[in-house]
Symmetry: C2
Subunit: 155 residues, 2 copies
Amino acid sequence: MAEQDFDPRCWIAGTDADRPRMLHTMMRVRDPQASIRFYVEGLGMKLVDVFEIPERRLTAHFLGFEEGQQDGFLELAWYWDAEAAYTHGSGYGHVSVGAPDFDATFARLKAFGAEVLAEPFRIFPGGPRLAMVKDPDGYAVEIVQARRAQAEERA
Amino acid sequence: MAEQDFDPRCWIAGTDADRPRMLHTMMRVRDPQASIRFYVEGLGMKLVDVFEIPERRLTAHFLGFEEGQQDGFLELAWYWDAEAAYTHGSGYGHVSVGAPDFDATFARLKAFGAEVLAEPFRIFPGGPRLAMVKDPDGYAVEIVQARRAQAEERA
C-alpha cells in the first residue's frame, strides 16, 4: 500500500495514535443539521470533521469540545436512506458532559429549546449537580457540574 | 455547603475540571463482572472507579484506558433490580476504540471469546481497518486501526 493511501485522520480525530483510546460514541441521527445545532449551539461542542461516504450512503459528523481533545468524540451518523425515526432500547443510557460552568450550560440548553428530562439535582449529597436533556433524536445527554459554583465556595 | 461535602471526583474521572468535556458514555449492564472482564481482559481497558449508590440500587463502574485520560470513559451501570435483558433500539450505534496495535487487539478479543460482528475491513481504500465485536450485553464495540502496521509501512 502506498504511503499516501493510508490516512490515519480518517475516523481518528486527535493526533495521538500511540495509545489505545476511546475515539467516539456513534449515534444515528435523522436530521444532521438539527443535531449539529443542538450539540454546537446548545451544548457548546465544535464540529471537528465531516466524512461523506457515498458508497455507504452515509455522512459521519464528528464533534468534540477542544483542540487538544484525544478521546470521547461524538459521531453523528446520517444514513441518507433512513426512513423512520430511530428507536431507543432500554440498554443504552446517555453521553455525559462535564461542564465547568454548569448553570450557564444548562441555561444555554434551555434557551436553545432543549427538552429537559431532569432538572438539576444532586445524585447524592456533596456530589456535583446533574441535569439531563434530550437531543433532537431523543438521545439523553447528561450535564455534570465539573466545578463548584462560586456561591457554593462562599457558603 | 461545607468544603468536604463537594467531591468533584464523583462522576468526573480525570482531573481537568476547567474545560467542558465528554466525560463518559453510559450503558446499562446485567452482569457487571462479565462486562468488566470483557472490557478489561478483552479490550485492554482499566477499571478506574466504582460507585455504589444504594439509594438508587445502582452500582456505576467507570472504565478508561490510561492515567492521563480526560474524556470518553465508559460507565457501566448495574441496576440491582433489573430483571430482563436490556433491549437495543435502532438508533444508538457503538463506542469506537482506537487501537495502536489493531491485530493484537482483535486477536485478544477473539481469544477472549468476544462475538465478532464484523471481521477486519477497510471502510474505504486507504482508511484504517475496522472491526466490530459485541460486548456481553450485545452492545457493539468498534475497533479502529490507529497506526499503520509495519507490513503496510514496508509495502
